[in-house]
Amino acid sequence: MVSTLETRQTVEKVGSDYKYGFVTDIEMVKAPKGLNEDVIGFISAKKQEPEWLLDWRLKAYRKWITMEEPDWALLEYEKPDFQDIYYYAAPKSADDRPKSLDEVDPELLRTYEKLGISLQEQEVLAGVAVDVVFDSVSVATTFRETLKKKGVIFCSISEAAREYPDLMRKYLGSVVPAADNFYAALNSAVFTDGTFVYIPKGVRCPMELSTYFRINEANTGQFERTLIIADDESYVSYLEGCTAPMRDENQLHAAVVEIVVLEEAEVKYSTVQNWYPGDKDGKGGIYNFVTKRAACRGTNSKVSWTQVETGSAITWKYPSCILQGDGSIGEFYSVAITNNYQQADTGTKMIHIGKNTSSTIISKGISAGKAQNTYRGLVRILPNAENTRNFTQCDSLLIGDECGAHTVPFIETKNPTAQVEHEATTSKISEEQLFYCLQRGLDVEESVSLIVNGFCKEVMQQLPMEFAVEAQKLLGISLEGSVG
């Protein structure tokens, strides 16, 4: 986040006049444990939502209670008790948070140090009760003013529900319907935070939008909902997450991201996911069940997902593209690292509906320790999708002999003009490679990091510069202790 901090400071200098920020409710309020219609009503009221949204939530909830938690993924974990979770908790008061970095887990601090994160930023990330958060509020506001001049809307999803009801009603749930799947339905019922982005016609968003500017609201991670709309001929690059591991008390995460891409528009969505993976023995760690989907509705529209997944104990995530507009393009670039007892079942779906649509899938899975890493993908070519193309490349890298890599590709072609290519490889970091690096003076960790970064190069180079350098370091850190 070093470069982000710089950006932040620059923005801060530019417009330090904007001191008003998000409306923050600091009362300590908690909904009772468990989930029922009252709790949903409570959340909706807290967020001062319009009635249609409450109805929408309730409909999702009523659907959700009839649904079963899916078990087709190659994941083994104890199913969460959904009645034993708080679905709404106001931000923690300063009393409950660490007073200084001295009270923070030294292991976490060591990681921050390796990533080169400033002390001030460490405090924010570790949840230390400091006023820095208020800085970020003002910065975010400044940032928003700049965007506003271009007509770009970048705000919390709750705010959007109040301020931009037409856009919200039109697009919310239009890509991921409320009852799309078990976790999406749960999210639709209880989402408490998230981001709304609208890029108007013909606008190229002047800066990379980062969730980092919106972290003033606590518990952002748990049931996050993101909606991005790129109107005709617009462009936006959106960065989600942070290379630094964030502390989070909530074990269950179920986020939904919807992207709507209209005529000739392009959205680039980059994620670095680094939630707590659990300890070396597999205790603790975040369960991450994410539904991400983009609809390329316009002709020649384009969406590109790039993800670096290093965190979470359980990852269940398939960022997908519905290629509806003729000539639309979907891309998926993924690095998923699992170490120790982490399990990841991740991949993508490319649904080709329009003519001349094309998709590219590059997936790099790395397993170490006792981890399991699965690529699961679907390429579906519908009957009217003339002259479509797909290229898929799935590479797996194993470190040690107790981990697993699995590739589960589905290809369904209903149009004979389609060209679909699939390549898959599995390799190991060999002793020879490791010794070669050691003999040239690199230590074990540097060597693994170098080899793994080389393996992931095609994906890493898709990341915006802001992320790329730190993501590279992160790959090495995530695999620490996996060899030797």
Partner: protein, 251 residues
């Protein structure tokens, strides 16, 4: 500079080196020859600290230090370089980045500052030119898609960049045509210097016409069975190992 005493090495429980003695002084070039399976590569791996090469007896002292206590990368930091018989491919990592990382790790080990990017670039261009390597190759992934000869030349570029005190060159001549052999040999000769030493492991006398050794040793069945000067290499070329009373298939 390097003193190996009574070295016994086992690999997967199999005894490969059985009491090897070798002393190399600064400024010297030694050549080790021997039939297949004599333990030539094992010797190079034992010196460099490869995992799985178990030292059951004996010692290796380098510049007064017992290097058996050091990890492979620490030995590299002390100034030991191995030119690999089969250089390894590292996909996605450019030669440039690899070497930069290597040099800076060694510098870090020695408590030195990192090499400035500009100096690094100048140096690597110069070294590539000396070894007649196309600068474009420097941007390519380490050894990926390189021919046998290109890989060996790349090893020499790495050696020139790292500038080690002691180089072990394991069958560096294999896979080279006559022109490449001369270029590589020139590269080795440039490393000759009163403060440095080189151990050339080779199967054939050919390389030794260009890199003239001060001493030649014959390794057979895990021990050095004969030592001499460059004439020994010629004698071997003429009479074969059998001429020395060594059964090439015994090992």
């Amino acid at each position: 500079m390097l003193e190996i005493k009574n070295l016994h090495v086992e690999v997967d429980g199999k005894k490969i080196l059985k009491g090897l003695n070798l002393k190399i002084n600064a400024g010297e070039v030694h050549a080790i020859m021997g039939p297949n399976g004599a333990g030539k590569s094992t010797l190079s791996y034992a010196i460099c600290g490869k995992e799985g090469y178990k030292i059951t007896e004996g010692s290796i002292i380098f510049k007064g230090k017992n290097i058996l206590e050091l990890e492979a990368n620490e030995r590299a930091g002390e100034g030991i370089f191995l030119g690999f018989q089969y250089p390894v491919e590292i996909p996605g990592v450019s030669n440039m980045n690899f070497l930069k990382a290597a040099i800076n790790s060694i510098r870090k080990y020695r408590g030195e500052k990192e090499m400035a990017a500009v100096d690094f670039l100048k140096l690597i261009r110069a070294k590539a030119a000396e070894l007649e390597m196309d600068p474009e190759m420097l941007k390519r992934a380490v050894n990926v898609g390189f021919s046998g000869g290109e890989k060996k030349r790349n090893e020499m570029v790495q050696m020139a960049m790292i500038d080690p005190v002691f180089s072990v060159l394991d069958e560096t001549d294999s896979g080279l045509d006559i022109d490449a052999l001369r270029i590589v040999a020139d590269g080795i000769n440039r490393m000759r210097n009163p403060e440095k030493a080189i151990l050339v492991i080779t199967h054939y006398q050919r390389l030794l016409d260009y890199v003239v050794p001060d001493f030649v040793h014959v390794l057979s069945n895990g021990k050095i069975v004969k030592s001499g000067d460059k004439e020994l290499a010629h004698q071997l070329e003429k009479d074969g190992y059998a001429g020395l009373g060594i059964d090439e298939n015994a090992a």
